[in-house]
Amino acid sequence: MKNGRIAVPSNGAGGIDGTRAGHFGHCDTFTFIDVEDGEIKEVTTLQNEGHAQGGCMVPVNFLADNNVKALIVGGIGMRPLMGFKQVGIDVFHDDQRPDIKPVVEDLIAGKLTEIQNDQVCGGGNGGQPNLP
């Protein structure tokens, strides 16, 4: 990813040296990383608006309104994933590393893969990809 804004669901205050939240909808903060020509230009944070049962589209609209182009998750449900696709936000997946910085660097370097429909949480499938 050469240009655009990356969002990472984060614990606590967030920031590039912070840690990732396991489920995007329940995170404390979103860390935004603005990338230009393959370099990190600016890092900002924004408090999550909260999560209500069935309110999956709240963070979808929230991130779209903040010009996010890519999201990195450890886990996500089918409905919000489809929502992100509809608003043009690419969703990338890493369920192994809790730190923000290495997954952001990998996304910029083109080493992260987009989440597939069979990697989503729940739905009777038994699996819930998430962070360790």
């Binding site: 049962q53 069935g54 309110g55 589209m57 709240v58 996500i76 449900g77 089918m78 994933l81 739905g123």
Partner: protein, 127 residues
């Protein structure tokens, strides 16, 4: 105006429930199976889809799973006899607003409408 689509083979069993939903600001449309749900939402805008536990062509939750693939912004609720834990397991990731009990009463309809209004306000939709 809030537009609600209800899919059920047994409309009579949901009369009390739908009475709880039915205010001056709500319009309810009925259908019987998932195939017709798909055609209805292709041609009309709904704020909420409520599916019965079993439809003539599929289970209610399977219908919701199918619907959200192309219509993630449509809110859904499901009538289900599953325990709360099992319902959560079966519907996780679908973003279902509410599990509605089998043979729901008007109070369940009122509760559903209150929660829908809360979600619509969170998603900044003008009411």
């Amino acid at each position: 105006m809030i537009h609600i689509l209800i899919a059920s083979q047994d409309k009579d069993s949901l009369m009390e429930f739908s009475a709880g939903l039915d205010t001056n600001d709500v319009e309810i449309t009925w259908t019987k199976d998932c195939e017709h749900v798909i055609s209805k939402i292709e041609n009309n805008k709904f704020d909420l889809l409520i599916v019965d536990e079993t439809l003539s062509d599929t289970k209610g939750l399977e219908c919701i799973e199918k619907i959200i693939m192309n219509n993630p912004f449509l809110n859904t609720a499901a009538i289900s006899s599953l325990s709360s834990k099992d319902f959560h397991e079966e519907s996780e990731g679908f973003g279902v607003l509410m599990q509605i009990p089998v043979n729901p009463g008007s109070e369940d309809g009122e509760k559903m409408l209150d929660y829908l209004n809360k979600i619509l306000k969170l998603t900044n939709r003008d009411l």
